[in-house]
């Protein structure tokens, strides 16, 4: 059984409320941290090996150490709760059921960063969660953990909740800051990075909800103990939101040593695939990370069991591997149509493009149109190469990573499931009534060198 750090008390009734959370040892990490220096906390986060849990996986302590500290200029912590990537719903779980672990993590992080004001930017559609967070903030304030002179240490901290209004792009940190400043969510050119010029041009750290919550156990159990959990550079625990064709969808906390096979089939986690269907494919880290066929998902190209961690999932690069991403784990069984599924993802990215960069603004709807055409039985064989060409022209050519996020699912679908695209085109009428199933996916499909 995986060690639980974030969700260990999730089963306790009333854990959403301060008194219950406190009885379970809540806010002891704040008491401990406020006796440390801010540098010691930053060093502890570095030593823990914590990597950003929003998708990019950048070392959190290192990110914190980049924060500029000019005299007389305020610094800000902004929590990125704009969880909008298809397949990802873990931060929602944390905020809804364990809001105090986020608040506690924010107080410690703000102290470490020298920030007296912090904001939680939450996607607008999670419209019942701000009430939960604001209630938790109020409880923390009433118990002396927020406001002026926290626990008599002289440290002041306020936390505010800001609702977005339905734009996936606001999960990108600079777009989020633009939105928080009351503008369209158009990403900014970097550099300067937010650590130098962030919210209202002040030094700002933007971290994901799960990342900030993870600071609490790091302080509680110590960086060394935290780093011992997991394997390699995948330290600590990771929340995985599991969905698709599985018996037990939901949010799981894993210690990143388990295999993908165990995660899908064991009763502790997803509980296998309904109706005894076979695994066709999986997207392990949110819709933007490459989809892999079953054989490559369960084992690396070298035949090693693939593990649920950053290194193992990315083993083989994009040719035969994928990414941990946000931990949005979607399972597709043998009945699923890869063309249709990819089309819905392309539609998502086309809808969510902010329109600032031409390759993304023009390219994402173009990809959607081509996929729609193939899916509806009107595709031509050359459309597959056109689709490949369009995604290549988007990837790496935009201000923010949304272009990459839109290109990668399409690229991976063609790379690993080209047979299925061809079958759709060759059998347009058949494709309207039945799916391609597993034909052709028993073994790794050779990848043309030009397409890697």
């Amino acid at each position: 059984m995986s060690k639980k750090l974030l969700l260990k008390d999730a089963h306790i009734e009333g854990i959403r409320y301060f008194d219950t959370y406190r009885k379970q040892g809540g806010y002891e990490a704040v008491e401990k941290a406020l006796k440390m220096s801010s540098e010691e906390i930053v060093e502890a986060v570095k030593a823990s090996g914590l990597r950003g849990r929003g998708g990019a996986g950048f070392p959190t302590g290192l990110k914190w150490s980049f924060l500029a500290k000019p005299e007389g200029v305020p610094r800000y912590l902004v929590v990125n709760a704009d969880e909008s990537e298809p397949g990802t719903f873990k931060d929602r779980y944390l905020m809804e059921f364990l809001p105090h672990i986020l608040i506690e993590g924010m107080i410690i992080s703000s102290f470490a960063l020298g920030a007296n004001t912090a904001y939680i930017y939450i996607r607008g559609e999670y419209s019942w969660i701000p009430d939960i967070l604001e209630e938790a903030i109020e409880e923390a304030r009433n118990n002396g953990f927020l406001g002026k002179n926290i626990l008599g240490t002289g440290f002041d901290c306020e936390i505010y909740v800001q609702r977005g209004a339905g734009a996936y792009i606001c999960g990108e940190e600079t777009a989020l800051l633009e939105s928080l400043e009351g503008k369209r969510g158009n990403p900014r050119l970097k550099p300067p990075f937010p650590a130098v010029k962030g919210l209202w041009e002040s030094p700002t750290v933007v971290n994901n909800v799960e990342t900030i919550a993870a600071v609490v156990p790091i302080i509680n159990i110590g960086a060394a103990e935290y780093a011992k959990i997991g394997v390699g550079k995948s330290t600590g625990t990771k929340l995985i939101s599991a969905c698709g064709n599985i018996n037990k969808p939901g949010v799981y906390e894993i210690d990143m040593t388990i295999t993908v096979e165990e995660f899908i089939y064991s009763d502790e986690y997803c509980g296998g695939i309904p109706n005894g269907k076979k695994l066709k494919a999986c997207i392990p880290g949110g819709s933007s990370v490459p989809i892999l066929p079953a054989n490559l998902m369960l084992k690396t190209i070298n035949g090693e069991p693939r593990l649920m961690n950053y290194e193992s999932l990315s083993d083989g690069g994009f040719a035969t591997g994928t990414m941990m991403g946000s931990g949005g784990f979607e399972v597709l069984d043998e009945d699923q149509c890869i063309v249709e599924h990819t089309m819905t993802l392309a539609r998502f990215y086309a809808h969510e493009s902010c329109g600032q960069c031409t390759p993304c603004r023009e390219g994402t709807p173009w990809m959607y149109k081509i996929l729609k055409k193939i899916n509806s039985g009107e595709g031509r064989m050359e459309d597959i190469d056109l689709l490949w060409d369009v995604q290549r022209k988007i990837e790496g050519n935009t201000i923010c990573p949304l272009g990459d996020a839109a290109a990668w699912p399409v690229a991976a679908a063609i790379r690993h499931f080209r047979d299925e695209f061809e079958w759709h085109i060759n059998n347009p009428e058949l494709a309207q009534t039945q799916n391609y199933g597993l034909a052709g996916y028993a073994d790794p499909i050779p990848v043309p060198a030009a397409n890697i």
């Binding site: 305020p74 929602r92 904001y119 996607r123 419209s127 969510g185 209202w200 969905c243 969808p249 819709s287």
Partner: protein, 169 residues
């Protein structure tokens, strides 16, 4: 126009409270929260006079409000029904039958995507990922998510809406 459009006094208080979350001179940051409030208070959508009023309250240029309001999908730029059924249809929801749910609603209410039913009660909005992938198919109705939908459950929700017996916030 802003002479005839005005927040209720208690709403205005709420707006003032929100502007205090930000440093002096940064009241533009209140724009999205205030647009949410305005949409709710002024009929479920943002017409030009409402946006002009918000601009006036926050001391912004009207264009600053228009460009934000039109960017974010949660702001309605045309009238909507009392019940806006936002059905997620991206990847994970599609895998678990969102198209069937959408088709059922389209047929049952005789509406197309983005359209409003003849009685003015329902608007259907297909949505792109609402972060409920594990509990799919799902739809948002007002402030709340309705998850693990079946055709029968959708019928029940629609009936409750017709009876005015479903919570929106």
């Amino acid at each position: 126009m802003s002479d005839t459009i005005a927040f209720k006094p208690e709403t205005l208080e709420q707006v003032i409270k929100i502007t205090k979350r930000y440093p002096e001179g940064k009241q533009k940051s209140a724009l999205i929260p205030v647009l949410h409030i305005a949409q709710k208070e002024f009929g479920g959508w943002l017409d030009v006079p409402v946006m002009d009023y918000v601009a006036q309250v926050l001391q912004l240029k009207p264009i600053e409000v228009y460009e934000v309001a039109t960017f974010y999908t949660m702001f309605n730029m045309k009238p909507v029904g009392k019940y806006v059924l936002e059905v997620c249809r991206t990847g994970p929801c599609m895998v678990r039958g969102s198209e069937k749910i959408l088709d059922h609603i389209r047929t049952k209410l005789n509406i197309s995507d983005g359209g409003t039913s003849a009685d003015g009660l329902f608007t259907l909005k297909p949505a792109e990922c609402l972060g409920a992938c594990g509990y799919a198919p799902m739809m948002q109705l007002g402030k709340f998510y309705h998850e693990n939908l079946t055709v029968e459950k959708v019928d029940e929700i629609i009936e409750l809406c017709r009876q005015g017996a479903i919570a929106l916030d």
